[in-house]
Amino acid sequence: MNGIARSMLTTLSTFMRKPVTRDYPVVHKELPKTDRAFPLLLWDHEIDEPFCTGCHACERACPVECMTVLMKDNPNHKSLGGDSSRRKIIDKFWIDYGRCMRCNICVEVCNFEAIAMNNTWTGHETSVYDRRDLTMDLQQLLSQSRAGKINEWVPVIGQANEDPAAVKAE
């Protein structure tokens, strides 16, 4: 019965330790900036319009085809008296979060850094009663970035960390 005694002592030792429970809905773990939830569109606060020009790059690269993009002429373009340098701008944009597999490819292919993965808890807590509610439109995709509630992080693929010693030497 030594083995049984050993098992029971092991459980007793965990009985004595501090619980490891995270009180989840009350206490949220701090998310790292690399965290990936679902893609979001970013808002250009300087000109007060989306970064996205509706170039379809992400739509073409998406492996699960969860995006639908429509572009239009930018009414705010310089030639029309506005202050934006974007000739075309996003008109309508849908992402089906129920279909997205969070592979980060849309972020990587974007030429304008207009899309990023949501790295806040709102991206993770997306339960809805109807799966059709998971299809997000342009307003919903932009709102978080527009309100500044995103810890923006757009990775550069293949870029290594800079060696502080080497930087100092220069």
Partner: protein, 378 residues
């Protein structure tokens, strides 16, 4: 033991019962279904039904370019997604003849071994439940896995489906405190392994339940094409990391855990030893890994295209040999992709292992193979 025809003649002949286990059953580890033909409590025949989770991942990947395929590889082996990604990107690298920077390889190794640890923790937990310990092993497993998954989240951004290895290297660099974090995780992992060791290894009831149960001999195991801990427990010390070293496994000192009994207990203790070996490997990797350096070759094309050719790459995933056979006819996507899944081959031996054992044994034999159904069905 069992009322047999020879002992009692035909007047006591009984009808065997067909017991349907799964696809919804607590112990089938996913949507696996097996029909047990039982005589009382003794299993006379096992009819496994696989394919409930078939998604055609291989065929899907043939319509995707190489970067898009990575995400699907994650999902074929969700408990050890880094290992699955590794095979895929290594196949692409072999086809396109890309040299991977040294630092990226070290990071890949560390992450793969950590993933092996997390996968084996999962095995320990699920197996403990199969054997019948109430709740404890699963929570033990979960609390250690949580530490490792937290680290993965910091590195790759996701807890299960990483999409982090890319042809040529890594998607982005690890955080600055990576080494310290890995050491921190290893510290907690050691406690976790010790807990499991104390809870199960020496327990008499555990041993009597598992020793001598589900025996498969070396010859049979080889004939079924088993691999990983399941074959090493039968006395065949086959390990791709040792036999055909990839990454930098040839620069690392580690043992291949193997047993000779070939029973459920041997498969369990093989995994237990492997976890300690993984910890050793990670420590050595941390010593040898450079702190800074490139993680991708200088010139990577924006859209990767490979010359025509075919390649078979195998790596040692936690459940055995995870192979990728890839044919390219040029262009940016594979012409044919075949995943050699260790679980599928290991599962074939289920019948040989569980016939003439008790129902409870059939359950733990299934648990001891440690299947991931998404890898079996793909």
């Amino acid at each position: 033991m069992v009322a047999s025809r020879e002992t009692y003649g035909t007047e006591f002949e009984t009808q065997d019962l067909l017991l349907n286990v799964g696809p919804q059953h607590p112990s089938t580890h996913g949507v696996f279904r097996m029909v047990l033909q039982v005589d009382g409590e003794v299993v006379k025949d096992v009819i496994p039904h696989i394919g409930y989770l078939h998604r055609g991942a291989e065929k899907l990947c043939e319509t995707m370019d190489f970067r898009q395929g990575i995400g699907f590889m994650d999902r074929t082996e969700y408990l050890a997604a880094f290992n699955a990604e590794l095979s895929y990107v290594m196949a692409v690298e072999a086809l396109a003849d890309i040299e991977v920077p040294e630092r990226a390889q070290w990071i890949r190794m560390i992450l793969c071994e950590l993933n092996r640890l997390s996968s084996h923790f999962m095995f320990m937990g699920a197996f403990g439940i199969d054997v019948g310990v109430f709740a404890t092993p699963f929570i033990y497993a979960w609390k250690e896995r949580e530490q490792i998954l937290d680290l993965f989240e910091e590195v790759a951004g996701d807890r299960m489906m990483y999409a982090y290895f890319r042809p040529g290297g890594l998607a982005w660099d690890v955080p600055h405190n990576f080494k310290a974090r890995v050491r921190e995780v290893l510290k907690s992992t050691r406690i976790g392994i010790n807990d499991f060791d104390g809870l199960l290894t020496k327990d008499e009831i555990f041993r009597t339940r598992t020793q001598g149960v589900g025996v498969i001999s070396a010859e049979e195991a080889i004939e079924w094409g088993m691999s990983g801990p399941s074959i090493r427990a039968s006395g065949v010390p086959m390990d791709v990391r040792k036999d055909e070293p990839y990454l930098f496994y040839d620069q690392i000192d580690f043992n291949v855990a193997s047993r000779t009994e070939g029973d459920v207990y041997a498969r369990y203790s093989c995994r237990m030893e492997e976890m300690w070996e993984s910890v050793r490997i990670i420590e050595q990797c941390l010593e040898k890994m450079p702190d800074y350096g490139p993680i991708m070759p200088e010139k990577m094309p924006r859209m990767l295209r490979t010359p025509p050719g075919e390649v078979y790459i195998r790596t040692e995933a936690p459940r055995g040999e995870y192979g990728i056979y890839m044919v390219s006819q040029g262009g940016n996507r594979p012409y044919r992709l075949k995943v050699r899944s260790a679980c599928l081959s290991n599962l074939q031996a289920l019948k040989d292992m569980s016939v003439n054992q008790y129902v409870a044994d059939a359950i733990i034999v299934l648990g001891s193979i440690d299947i991931v159904l998404s890898e079996v069905d793909r």
